[in-house]
Structure formats: structure tokens, C-alpha cells
Amino acid sequence: MKARTLRRHFKESFKSLGRNRWMTFASASAVTVTLLLVGVFLVIMMNLNQLAESIEQDVEIKVIVDLAADEVAVADLEEKIRKTDGVLDVQFSSNTEELDNMIEGYGDEFGLFKQDNPLRHAFYVKAAEPQQTASVAEKIEAYDYTHEVNYGKGKVEKLFNVLNTGRNIGFVLVIALLLTATFLISNTIRITITARRREIEIMKLVGAKNSFVRIPFLFEGMWLGVLGAILPMVIVTVSYFNLYVLLEPKLQGELFQLLGTTPFIYQLNGLMLFMGVFIGVWGSFMSVRKFLKA
């Protein structure tokens, strides 16, 4: 495309935006609302994902060793566990260490037990892949001298279920919103096309190519998307920076950490802008296709 032609298309598309001020406002607003919700949804989802991942990473299998196991049996068990498929790491913790941990965690009352330690030896096992935790635990349970095998059964699965459900609901919601915004944009473009029917008719009569007729409307749709994306980008960025500054100190040392502002927020902005442009151009394309056939 020649630069001159591009300039002309730009000018035409801007003129249309100004001419249909209210429709421009309405459809850009629809994009704004959509992207704002998409943005908030993404911030929440990405952070929950992050949380899920850190919890996943944190999942350990605790193997409590039977009292009947002598030193040889314990060493034997450790060896077996280490050689189990999907095991990344095995830590042995004697019953004395277990008690020390308990005293540290719950208080000196447990010091009483120092005389006669009721606890058993334990292994802390990490699976190579968090998803394998359950199957690894199952295998270990079958070995001799295992008294009990725990891995926070159910808790992790539940968290993932909640996350997945949230993600699916959010996804459907986002798609519905995107469709609504696309529909509004395509309506706006349709009005523009109708308003310029005569012009288009003459263009085609004198031999303008279809692409020449079409492109200004696609640009117009694109601007609608860009216009609609500005506010959500600003709002999400400013809010997230503030939220980060506010919450980050309080989350020091916690398992849950907010995603860092960079590059996350830039990626998010890029995504929102892309979505805005995409709905704009797509919505416009739908109208243009219907009206400028042949």
C-alpha cells in the first residue's frame, strides 16, 4: 500500500469515528468494560496459578516408618524409596529430630516426651513432578515397614479443582464479553458503512478495489479497540503497582507471593491491547464482509 493511500485510509477512519461519536463511545466503552474485566480476571488467575504452583512445589510425602523396623530395615526402605520411579529427593528424619521439630513448632510442653519418645522415624519424599505425588505415595505405601504415608491428600486436588472451575467460568465469561464487544463494534461499523453507502457505491463504480473500500473500516474498528483498551490498561497497571507496593511487604516470607510487576504487567498490557485491536478489527471485518460483498 502506498503511503498516500495509507494516510487517506487513516484520515477516513478518524473522520468516521468523529462523525458517529455516540456509537464510537458506546463500542469503545464495551471494549473498555470487557478488557477491564479480562484484566482483573487475568491478574487474579495468574496470581492464583502462581499460588497453586508454589503449593505444588511444596507438597511432600511423609513416610512414617514402622516401629518394628530396625536400622537395616530403615536403610533398606530408604534405598527402595530412592529408587522408586518419580522420586526426586528423600530426607530421613529420626524420631528425635521429629520431636525436636514438634517442640519447636508447638511448644515446650512436648519436652515431656523427651524421656520416652513416642514418635517414629520418618522420610520426607519429594516427587520429581508435583502431579506424580499421589502415585509415588501409593507405591511407597506398598513397601515393608511403612506405617503411614501422608501427602496432604485431597487438599492439592481440591485447590486445583477450584482453580480449574474458576478458570473455566472466567473463560466463558470472557468469551461472552468479547463477543458482546465484537458485536457492538460490528454494529458501529455497520452504521458507518450505511452512512457512507453512496460513497462506497461511487467508489466501486469508478473502479476502486475492494480492499481500498474495506480498509478504512478495518482501521476504524482497530481504533475502537485501541480506544477501548487505553482505560483498562491504565487502570490495571496503576492498581497492580499500588497493590504490589501495599501487599508485598506483608507477604514477606509467606508461601503466597504476588507476581512481580515486571514483566507481568507489561505482558498483560500487551495482551489487553492485542485483544482490543483484535475485537475491533474482527467486529469490523464481520460487518464489512456482509456489506461489501462482490
Binding site: 502506498k2 498516500r4 493511500t5 487517506r8 453512496r198 460513497e199 457505491e201 461511487i202 467508489m203 466501486k204 463504480l205 469508478v206 473502479g207 476502486a208 478495489k209 475492494n210 481500498f212 473500500v213 462482490a294
Partner: protein, 228 residues
Amino acid sequence: MIIMKKVYKKYPNGVVASNGINVEIKRGEFVFVVGPSGAGKSTFIKMMYREEVPTSGDIIIDDINLATLRNSQVPYLRRKVGVVFQDFKLLPKLNVYENIAFALEVIEESPEQIRKKVNVVLGLVGLTHKSRMFPNELSGGEQQRVSIARSIVNTPKVVIADEPTGNLDPATSWEIMEMLERINARGTTIVMATHNKEIVNTMRHRVIAIEGGLITRDEVGGDYGYES
């Protein structure tokens, strides 16, 4: 220049507006298309710039077969065929100069070519002094002259006109006819559908009469042949 072979056109509603038309129009000819209302004159004209596609048959203009022409190629046909209508089809927000230049801008002609060509046709239709005026400031005849200027600004080989004098009084109609005559004199083929008996009878060009979608008469130097 223009060849139609067994051209048949049936509209989606079942109306047959062209029922096997065969005709050949040579380069530089001036042809009137006459016939009663609803005879199929406009359909005949529309098929020549591919506003309508024939249901069957061939239409060849300047070696392009319109019946098999791909949609993407239509713009190139339109650049070779100028069209003029009863209702002028000017853009009210553009002045005379801009209305004519528009036809070149949308086919991405260069600004200097546009300036040159528009000024030439403005002179040709005698509107140089009114080039900054808007359509609503012009008489019907002047508006039609702008429309004619636009149709020839890209130096087409054929100008097709559907009742170009239909909205004009007799004196103005004659002005328009003089204009078309001048364009024809420069070698441009002209095909014009009309109900104007006086013009047809006075100018004595080739007359093609259409009735019920068929050519019923084709006469060089013929007359209108109907009671106005």
C-alpha cells in the same frame, strides 16, 4: 468493442429481463437504447459494467468476458467503462473538483496526474470556473456535467449512460447531449438508454430497441419509434 452473445438474465424473483440478446457495438459508435418501461434497458446497461451478471451468455468488452470475470477483476473493468446516471450520483460534501478527483483518488492515481486530468475534464465540460462549488449550488445540468466529467476523467473506452437526461429540462438535456457528442467525437464509444424521443429522432445515431428483454429493432440512424 462490445459483444453480447445469447445474453440471458433472470432476476432472483423470476423476472426475465434479458431473453437472449445478441449485439455487437463497434469502437467509436454512439448507440441509443430505447424501449418501453420495464423492457430491460437498464438491465442491458447494468450488465455492461457488471452491476448485474448475466445468467447465461457472454458479454465481451474490450476483450474482457464479463460473464466469467472474477469479482476481484471487476475494478479493472470499471476503470475502462465510464458510467453516468439519471441521478448524477455526486457526493454532496465534496465540491466539483473533489467529486471528479475522487474517481482517481480511489484508484490510487498520483496527485499530479489527478490535478492534470481533473483540470482537463473540467475544461471539457465547461465548469472550470465552478470547480469550488458544491453540488447543491449547481443546476441539474451542471451536476450532470460534473458526473460526465467524472465518468471520463480516467479516459475510458466506453461511456454508458442510463437516462442521463431523465431529470433535466429539454434545453439542459441538449447541453448534455452536446457534451456526449463531443466525447464521442474524441473516439469514445457511447451507449445511452433513453426515453427522450426528440433527442433520438434529432441525433440520428444507431438505435437499439428492446422489448421484453429482446432486441426488436437495431437500426443505424434510426428513430425513437414509440409514441413518447
